[in-house]
């Protein structure tokens, strides 16, 4: 592997004594698709929140492009090239699709509060530039037709892609996608699948949390399996799939889900 772009080392956090994420390390290189899988409650989203700075880790470090960003507040991590999507959709529902993506462009916008207040011509020039960029991104994720639709009126699969477009608007070096295909039908999943591959190809390191194993196995370069907050296995998809510990963990999960169903 070439020099890692994202280097997470020994990261961990505990909530009320429970170690939600414990001693997790991984590295992701430019252009790579790195997937994190694991049973429900394994700590995948918590790991994302640690990497993106929503939670402050109690131990471990996060490095991006060689720089230690462990203590950098979340909104500044975007500046160093990190963008993400969310498991539970975090859409700006009162705004249109294109406006959602325009918000994602916030970092590249050159304007000030005073200029905005006074409505200087530079603000409107900036708006035009931002809008063009946002429209191009919507085109890229296949939502160009819905640019002016209120985000609240978009179907679920479209919202998932809208989030990806918004994250891409920050021109990230690392893109973290939290279950981008959850709740999507086969056609939508296929579209997202192609989109992720294209994004990685364009030189972005993609970190993916996903439950759709077919998708994971197809597009991942490497996979990390988490169970109860700890790394269980890491490697190429095929090796991971055949790892007996991984199979046991997943069967355990399925087993417990069956049990839940029986009791619930």
């Amino acid at each position: 592997m070439s020099t890692p772009l994202l280097d997470v080392s020994g990261i961990g956090i505990a909530f009320g004594g429970v170690r939600a994420v414990d001693e997790v390390s991984f590295k992701v290189a430019t252009g790579e698709v790195f997937s994190i899988i694991g049973p429900n409650g394994a700590g995948k989203t918590t790991l994302f929140n640690l990497v993106t700075g929503i939670y402050r880790p109690s131990r471990g470090t996060v490095r991006l492009d060689g720089a230690d960003i462990t203590a950098v507040p979340p909104h500044l991590r975007v500046r160093s090239g990190m963008a993400r999507t969310f498991q539970n959709l975090q859409i700006f529902f009162r705004m249109t699709a294109v406006e959602n993506v325009m918000v994602g462009c916030a970092l590249s916008e050159r304007t000030s509060f005073l200029a905005d207040l006074l409505g200087l011509p530079s603000v409107f020039r900036q708006n035009r530039v931002t809008r063009a960029k946002a429209l191009a991104l919507l085109e890229r994720v296949g939502l160009a037709d819905l640019a002016e639709a209120p985000a609240g009126a978009l179907p679920y699969g479209a919202l998932k892609r809208l989030e990806i477009a918004r994250a891409l608007a920050a021109d990230p070096k690392v893109l973290l996608l939290d279950e981008p295909a959850a709740g999507c039908n086969a056609v939508e999943t296929e579209a997202i699948d192609n989109l992720i591959a294209a994004v990685a190809k364009s030189g972005v390191a993609v970190v993916l949390i996903e439950h759709d194993m077919k998708l994971v196995m197809k597009i991942s370069d490497r996979v990390l399996v988490l169970a109860q907050g700890r790394p269980l296995a890491e490697g190429p998809p095929r090796a991971v799939r055949e790892n007996p510990q991984v199979i046991a963990a997943y069967l355990g999960d399925i087993g417990s889900r069956e049990a839940d169903r029986a009791h619930g």
């Binding site: 993106t52 929503i54 979340p74 909104h75 500044l76 975007v78 500046r79 963008a83 993400r84 969310f86 975090q90 859409i91 700006f92 529902f93 009162r94 705004m95 406006e99 959602n100 325009m102 918000v103 994602g104 916030a106 970092l107 916008e109 304007t111 509060f113 200029a115 905005d116 207040l117 006074l118 409505g119 603000v123 409107f124 900036q126 708006n127 931002t130 918004r166 994250a167 608007a169 920050a170």
Partner: protein
């Protein structure tokens, strides 16, 4: 037609048109004064529209900032011998500064917690204005010196009408500018999801603080104008019920709509004047109206109307 409805400056033109028409149909100077009051309260409420309507942050103590602006115009000339116009500016700066100091910690709070914190701030301001009798004249308030605008003594209902109308137009223009800018997008974004706004690289606390400070400046300027026009100010200006009325203006007109805010202000300013004959019933009617609006038109008048019109248009 839709394009006109959606254009950024349409509300401003409509407002200017109304402003030009009112003096032609207002029969007496009393009516002009009421209209001027509408413009002034609209200005105060517009700040809240930015804070509540765009950024989604509630303030139940906004009359406190109005009080700061009003008393700056009253105290400055009377106690320090400063020029009233200068004091209007100083009041705005002071109000913004106080908002910055208070807002930094309390804007971390959300929902009900933010409501009680801002409410507490407003109550404290009102109490100070009430109690520091030597400075503020206490519960009876104090009189305010006449304002001279570049050598022109502003007196009479019509002059005040135009001054307040001009101030509101400027305020409305700035609010519309913000709405159409990256800052406005950021504010609306954090209203819907702070996590996602942060994820887009927006410094959420800084943006909230900016909106809070701006809203405080709007309120202070309105307060200053109110004091100067009335020639008298009492701590009532900063009271909790005044804060409630400001919030009601914003919501009744339509959260986040500039024109709606003016409509809401007009409604709540004119209503008590219309009810003076039934003064006993004023409070009951006001309470009832607030309830009815909140229950049946929580979107406010203007957004509901606009939705209706856009629905009917091809």
């Amino acid at each position: 037609m839709k394009a006109i409805l959606r254009s950024r400056l349409t509300p401003l033109l409509a407002l200017a048109l109304v402003m030009a028409l009112v003096p032609m149909i207002a029969p007496t100077s009393f009516h002009l004064r009421v209209a001027a009051l509408v413009w002034i309260f609209s200005l105060a409420a517009l700040g809240l529209t930015i804070l509540m309507g765009y950024a989604g942050q509630v303030s139940l103590g906004h009359a406190g900032f109005l009080g700061i602006g009003a008393y700056a115009v009253a105290i400055g000339p009377a106690r320090l011998g400063l020029d009233p116009l200068l004091c209007l500016l100083l009041g705005a700066v002071l109000s913004g500064l106080v908002a910055w100091l208070v807002g930094r910690p309390i804007l971390r709070l959300k929902g009900y917690y933010l409501a009680i914190a801002t409410l507490g701030f407003g109550v404290i301001v009102a109490l100070i204005l009430h109690s520091e009798t030597e400075l503020t004249g206490g519960p009876d308030g104090m009189s305010v010196a006449r304002v001279t605008l570049f050598g022109w003594r502003v007196t009479g209902a019509l002059n005040w009408y135009w001054v307040s109308a001009g101030a509101l137009l400027v305020g409305a223009l700035l609010a519309l500018n913000i709405a159409a800018s990256p800052t406005g997008r950021a504010l609306r974004a954090l209203h819907d999801s702070e996590v996602a706004a942060t994820g887009a690289g927006i410094d959420v606390s800084a943006k909230k603080l900016a909106a809070f400070v701006l809203a405080a400046v709007y309120a202070a300027v309105a307060g200053g104008l109110l004091a100067a026009m009335n020639g008298l100010i009492t701590p009532e200006a900063a009271s909790f019920s005044h804060s409630v009325e400001l919030v009601a203006m914003v919501i009744i007109g339509g959260l986040g709509s500039v024109f709606g805010t003016v409509l809401g202000a007009a409604f709540l300013v004119v209503l008590p004047q219309a009810l003076t004959a039934f003064q006993e019933y004023e409070q009951a009617v006001l309470g009832l109206l607030i309830m009815v609006f909140m229950i049946f038109l929580p979107q406010g008048i203007v957004p509901s109307l606009r939705a209706l019109i856009e629905e009917r248009l091809p």
